[in-house]
Symmetry: C2
Subunit: 355 residues, 2 copies
């Protein structure tokens, strides 16, 4: 029988992404809980290609089989191995009240209701721009989180390249910010926001079409107290969204919020991001909350690389794509990065799969 280290090595060869022993363990632990591949990805906190590589490696070794290309089941040999290694079923103790975020969306129920009402006809997530909307509960929890950190009231706030979540709209709805500027590449979202701002007479908020691959004009730099974003997890996109977000901050003490997921990037990539944040850009990371952002499964799921590399045909039945919520604070001497970015690998690389 292969060891976990050998299985990890095999999964790495199959998938071409970085995988280690602990990841194989996590998939096995998740498989004791569910036979749904997408739930397994969620529990194991892995990029889809990595989870898929592990499932395929386990399949080739006769440790699991896949029913009708739908359900994954451990074989007797798989169950024996799991027992021998002392791997136990995945457990989830997350809070039912706040969905594990630490801040419940219903703490400001009026804001939640107004947001739901106004966004009934929101534009649907489309594939062109790697969109995927978070749940309304996520969007409101984000705003309450930002407020509870003193980063909302009377602040100049920039929401960049993440308006499929309508976070900029929700921030504006609080009527607490000094100003809100939303920029996004998708004109549908920009028009949607501006229409709501106009209807409600919110005159300190505006939305503009912008492609973040281009550098900001000078007047955008050093203009905001807070930025909010949700970049694709490639290194170029990270620079375009987060590097540029940092560049728009007025001064030390300025704050950035963004989502980063382990579904489209590995913990290896995360370290690269963290080195870049702390050493290059000059920020301190104050918060990382896993599984804060819950994404509604996008209509274009079947067209994605995720669906293609998955070892099953089954589509996701529940929310499986989640991301962590980062908060960073810029310190004296922070770097204002604002270079152009080329198109290559902007949305997708070997670890990503959901665009």
């Amino acid at each position: 029988m292969k060891t976990l280290v050998e299985l990890a090595q095999k999964a790495r060869e199959i998938s071409g992404v970085r995988i280690y022993k602990k990841n194989v363990e996590a998939v096995l632990s998740a498989l004791l809980k569910s036979g749904d591949f997408w739930e397994v990805v969620d529990m194991a906190d892995l990029p889809v290609p990595a989870a898929s590589g592990i499932v395929r490696a386990l399949q080739e070794e006769g440790l699991l089989f896949i029913d009708d290309e739908e359900n994954i089941r451990l074989t007797q040999k798989g169950l024996d191995m799991v027992r021998e290694l002392g791997i136990e079923t995945f457990v989830d103790y997350s809070c039912r009240a706040c969905e594990g975020r630490g801040i419940p969306f219903y703490a400001h129920i009026d804001l939640y209701r107004e947001f739901l009402q106004l966004t009934k006809d929101r534009p649907k997530a489309i594939r062109d721009y790697d969109q995927g909307s978070v749940t309304p509960e996520t969007t409101i929890a984000r705003v309450l989180f930002i407020d509870s950190r003193g980063d909302l009231r009377n602040k100049d706030i920039l929401v960049l390249g993440a308006e499929d979540d309508l976070t900029g709209l929700a921030v504006a709805l609080t009527r607490k910010a000094k100003s809100v500027l939303v920029i996004d590449i998708d004109k549908r979202l920009i028009d949607f926001d501006n229409r709501v701002f106009k209807e409600l007479g919110i005159d300190n908020a505006e939305a503009k079409v912008w492609d973040l691959r281009n550098p900001f004009p000078k007047d955008m730099l050093g203009r905001f107290d807070v930025f909010v974003s949700d970049p694709p997890e490639t290194l170029p996109a990270f620079r375009a969204f987060i590097g540029r977000g940092i560049a728009t901050l007025r001064e030390e003490g300025g704050v950035g919020y963004f989502g980063l997921t382990l579904r489209d990037s590995s913990v290896f990539r995360w370290r690269d991001f963290q080195i870049s944040l702390t050493s290059e850009f000059g920020v301190a990371i104050t918060d990382i909350l896993q599984d804060f952002n819950h994404y509604i499964t996008w209509d274009y799921h079947t067209e994605t690389k995720a669906a293609e590399v998955a070892p099953v045909k089954r589509e996701p039945k529940t929310i499986w794509y989640k991301s962590a919520w980062y908060r960073v604070e810029v310190l004296p001497g922070f770097k204002r990065w604002n270079e152009p970015i080329s198109d290559d690998v902007f949305y997708l690389d070997e670890e990503g799969s959901t665009t």
Copy 2:
């Protein structure tokens, strides 16, 4: 009237610690909510000397006064400034169910009850070793958090230099770890743990007296899957606890948990820690949960530098000292640091005050 930047500069001169505009804002926002200095420190998320310096600077400028050395109140001039700057009252949306941790202690109520019952006569926190115990709810939430990440069951776990919280005991009580080793400098705690282990017949757990300033013997290196700690926030102590904790991990994918607070170190220091973690030690940070750890105010509070530098004589009435909960994962090529550490500034430096 002085600007916030000038007030920050003045507070920096008074306190000798790094302070910027945003910190002054945070103190003013907190003062709109409470006149209790310790609650203000908590809300503003600042080192005690920093919060104290800000309060004193505001006092000297006639923006606040202190009633009977007890309650802090903004003056009319202070209130005018706050209104003019648009600073609003601190808001707290944290979840009442899980105390904002995202994981409620009562998710495993039997463990909580057994822990409470067994620790009724636990040793009291003493000053010699910078002790301060977290609440039992915190200890149990830590264990459930560790379990939910797949870092408990069948793992070899080291709890180092943090047993005033009895986290090692709580881990052992789950009977789910493969082995638990607790090391601490305080013989009272070690004896307490060993007595409980013996009484309950838990034979895979043991506790040993150890001074973390000394390097580990070779047989401790590379021996564990998970370490848990709660270091003082000085740079030497960080290396002694976290650097050495990392050195005990068996292989890539190994995991560390520890508390770090902004009450005894600034966000500047946090960045130094984060650069050291990611760039030097070779780990990725997967979680930072602010205010996860709640500390019971220690009996020796009045003897601390915190009490001495505080602008009030009033003692804390509620839990004011909290820390963030970090989880890190070591990646291939991680560094096993294991040098001796000298006594100097081990427990206390210019930002710390609670030892």
